[in-house]
């Protein structure tokens, strides 16, 4: 029995080393169309997978019911209403050239997998006998074969796409697979990662398949011993290979190498990825939870609720919420209104101080004035510290010197097109500089790290006051501190959390990214470090930040914002078959092309979708803080507008053009 056959017979029953590389549900077989007396509109729905089984790439189709595992290893129990029940009476039908075969192990596939036996096909008898399996009728449509045995794939259109596999060494034809729910392109793209598909000379709809057979049939160890094999030298030379957990990356590399001239530079991105993987520990992508099928964590999230965003909280709305002494009342409601619609620019200067935690919500106007007085003193005391360092001293203080030099450089490269920071002698530049220098005195261990000027700039723009801006910045930095620390632990944690979320939300996309060595989501680095500051227009950043600062509707909402953006980009990324570099480039170039309201709408929808899910994994609840959370008012009802506002009134916003001339602490609308 060839290595190929044993792999098939062993099948995907052993869960070790098997990894689902691609999966698409809603792939249909039309048994009736084979003119076998079946009802013509009988459909079998199933899922098509590409599986890496002990470094052999398998294509695997199985009807829907078959994928439900009684041991609950697979939670693919989906709505099967689209499946027309199999007519038990039609015992006559013969799946053309199929051979049903008892499966030997039954842990994963409790079914009788239909496989294609090389030996039999090679006989050239043209037809194979079929065992009767009345109990497992549907299973007869399951099939699975090694990619190395695939001769060609014919891709046809009939209002939808259907494909026909043709195997080597046999004239047999598998039943055509109908992609009624799309996915054929993605499937072929995935296939291309493991085999070369070239249009046949006489029929462009027929893709000829060539695979690196040798690599496929040999284990990694064999490869190393095979001195005739061109890769050996490289492998031996390269110590990183030995740290690989699974075979998949190795095989990918081999395939890439075989794809040869067309696919240049496959290796460097992969090396880069491996190194990044070491930098971001804890994200053992191939070893998450149980070994074996990653599909085990698949959860049906249900549909995503439609969300309606509100309009911004106006000056009037805001002042209405203050009592006689200036305490804010109805804070949860107010926060909810800000979450739904943001703030009009005129309210920001006041409201941001509360949102960021500089002003306690329950404080009175008097208390806030006293607080500001004390904080003003404290600020200038720290400012004086760096101001009074002599040149002599600074010469002996390399850290201060470095901070200062970097701040000077970065202030000149932050939001220079914004009128608050444009031109040569704009006072905004001096304030930006002085606040960052004073922050170094406030937290000398952290000092200045690139990215901090981006976080300060919008705050200073809104506050138009050095002291207030400083303390609001301090509050914001409290949230962001870990991102900037020496080990960048905050960044690593966030990337891991984001990966976990994305995996739940969109396994297919997550798998795609993983296969492109991008599963640790490095390309989201800038998003996370400076909270989308460079991705959105300045005005949109203000909106996004105030929404995030409400801490609604869940913890780490900004990670769902990432998911929302990725959700909008995944089609492009997958359709264009972007690799590691292209994904990074594509994401970098989204900058300034995003729409904040659309993103927020989608992010909230995702949050509701996850919240509605019953069997949420603990890891997800922990990230989003859904365990302990007592549902906030109105959250269960996405359509409900904030109670604060009256129905129809003109947009009270001054649209960002509001500007106070003086920079005292008084806010215009509080008199």
């Amino acid at each position: 029995m060839s290595a190929w056959l044993s792999a098939v017979c062993g099948g995907i029953t052993h869960r070790d080393h098997a990894q689902v590389l691609f999966e698409h549900e809603g792939v249909f077989i039309h048994p009736g169309s084979e003119d076998q007396g079946l009802e013509p509109d009988l459909l079998v729905s199933g899922s098509l997978r590409i599986i890496d089984k002990d470094a052999e790439i398998m294509v695997d189709y199985r009807p829907l019911e078959d994928s439900v595992d009684p041991t609950n290893m697979l939670c693919a129990g989906k709505d099967s209403s689209s499946v027309v029940e199999w007519a038990q009476s039609s015992g006559e039908r013969s799946a053309q050239l199929l051979e049903t075969q008892q499966s030997y192990e039954t842990e994963w596939d409790m079914i009788n997998a239909v496989t294609f036996r090389k030996r039999v096909c090679a006989n050239g008898e043209g037809s194979l006998q079929q065992q009767q399996q009345p109990v497992q009728e549907r299973s007869r449509w399951a099939f699975s074969f090694g990619l190395g045995d695939l001769r060609s794939v014919a891709v046809k259109e009939e209002g939808w796409t259907f494909i026909i596999f043709r195997l080597k060494e046999s004239s047999s034809v598998l039943p055509p697979l109908h992609f009624h729910q799309g996915g054929s392109t993605e499937f072929l793209d995935s296939l291309r990662r493991f085999a070369m598909l070239t249009e046949s000379a006489d029929d462009v709809s027929c893709l000829m398949v060539s695979t690196p057979n040798k690599a496929l049939s040999q284990s990694f160890e064999n490869l190393l011993d095979d001195n005739n094999f061109g890769l050996v030298h490289k492998f031996k030379k390269d110590p990183y290979v030995t740290t690989l957990g699974g075979f998949s990356k190795v095989t990918n590399y081999i395939f890439d190498a075989f794809r040869g001239t067309e696919e240049q530079h496959q290796r460097p991105p992969e090396e880069v990825a491996d190194l990044l993987g070491e930098v971001i520990p804890g994200l053992e992508i191939n070893q998450q939870e149980e070994p074996g099928f990653e599909v085990i964590t698949r959860i049906d999230l249900g549909t995503r609720p439609q969300v309606i965003r509100g309009s911004p909280v106006s000056v009037e709305d805001w002042t209405k919420q203050q009592d006689q002494e200036g305490r804010m009342t109805n804070v949860p409601e107010l926060k909810h209104a800000i979450f739904k619609g943001g703030l009009c620019h005129a309210v920001r200067k006041e409201a941001w101080k509360f949102l960021l935690g500089y002003f306690p919500w329950e404080s009175t106007t008097e208390e806030r004035k006293a607080l500001q007085r004390a904080k003003t003193d404290e600020y200038f005391r720290m400012k004086l510290q760096w101001k009074s360092v002599s040149e002599e001293q600074e010469r002996r203080n390399s850290r201060l010197r470095d901070y200062r030099s970097l701040i000077e450089k970065d202030v000149n490269r932050t939001d220079r097109t914004n009128r608050f920071y444009e031109g040569l002698d704009n006072p905004g530049l001096v304030l930006l500089h002085d606040i960052l220098m004073t922050y170094c005195m406030f937290d000398f261990d952290l000092g200045y790290v690139q990215g901090m000027s981006d976080l300060l700039s919008p705050i200073l723009y809104v506050m138009e006051n050095e002291v207030d801006a400083f303390w609001c910045f301090v509050s914001f930095m409290d949230q962001m501190h870990q991102n900037f620390e020496e080990q960048m632990q905050g960044m690593k944690t966030q990337l891991i959390q984001l990966s976990t979320l994305l995996r739940l939300l969109d396994l297919a996309f997550w798998n795609y990214l993983e296969a492109q060595d991008s599963g640790y989501l490095y390309f989201c680095f800038r998003w996370l470090l400076i909270r989308f500051k460079r991705e959105l227009s300045f005005q949109d950043v203000l909106r996004l930040w105030e929404v995030m600062w409400t801490e609604l509707p869940c913890q780490n909402f900004h990670l769902l914002v990432c998911c929302a953006i990725l959700d909008s980009e995944k089609q492009k990324i997958m359709e264009e078959n972007y690799g590691f570099n292209e994904i990074l480039k594509h994401i970098n170039e989204l900058s300034m092309k995003l729409n904040v309201e659309e993103i927020l709408q989608k992010s909230e929808g995702i949050c509701l979708q996850i919240r509605n899910c019953k069997d949420l994994p603990q890891s997800i609840s922990a990230i989003l803080g859904l365990d302990s959370a007592v549902s906030s008012p109105g959250l269960a009802d996405p359509g409900s507008g904030p109670a604060l506002r009256t129905a129809h009134r003109p947009d009270p916003c001054s649209n960002g053009l509001f500007r106070e001339t003086s920079s005292n602490n008084k806010v215009a609308f509080i008199s």
Binding site: P269, R413, L584
Partner: protein, 202 residues
């Protein structure tokens, strides 16, 4: 009819503020943006060019220079074909740091034969009048460190930018021609930059 294009990865390294991003943008878009943000994370741009009859796609990588970001910057050094060590002629510290950048690159790019690796040195901001580093000093450093080509550039007025990148490409191509001869012809062609054999295909 099919001319093969080689993909070359070059990386710009040097202190923050010396003008790496500006040089990259000048070369690829032929613009100088005085309002450019400082770089966060890692970026790259592609540029097609022809050098001595070779079609080349340059993939130019640009990173953030701060020490803090080192661990997330250095993985991208892997697979570089050339490194452009950059300083600013009006900043002597950035010049003094060239050696550190070179070391960091060699270490993390895992260069097998550092002596042979093609570095090119750029002294940027040539247009600025207050120089802190003289041409002679810079030239001398290049000679002593491995006879690297040295260019004084200005991203602002475009002086020498294209010339420097073209020289980088030439160096890489020259390197490859040497190593190509060492690969026996009957082995599986794994070289990741397969070149059309010059004139015969184009």
């Amino acid at each position: 009819m099919t001319t093969k294009t080689s993909l070359l990865k070059v990386i710009l390294l040097g202190d923050g503020g010396v003008g790496k991003s500006s040089i990259m943008n000048r070369y690829v878009t032929n613009k100088f943006d005085a309002h450019l943000f400082h770089t966060i994370g890692v970026e790259f741009l592609n540029k097609e060019l022809e050098v001595d009859g070779h079609q080349v796609t340059l993939q130019i990588w640009d990173t953030a220079g701060q020490e803090r970001f080192r661990s997330l910057r250095t993985p991208f050094y892997r697979g570089s074909d050339c490194c452009l060590l950059t300083f600013s002629v009006d900043d002597s510290q950035s010049f003094l740091n060239l050696g550190n950048w070179k070391k960091e690159f060699i270490y993390y790019a895992d260069v097998k034969e550092p002596e042979k690796f093609p570095f090119v040195v750029l002294g940027n901001k040539l247009d600025v009048t207050e120089r802190q580093v003289s041409s002679e000093e810079a030239q001398q450093w290049c000679q002593e460190n491995g006879d690297y080509p040295y260019y004084e550039t200005s991203a602002k007025d475009a002086t020498n930018v294209a010339v420097a990148f073209e020289e980088a490409v030439r160096r890489v191509l020259a390197m490859d021609e040497r190593t190509d001869h060492l690969i026996p012809t009957d082995t599986v062609k794994l070289h990741r930059k397969p070149r059309s054999a010059g004139a015969c295909c184009s």
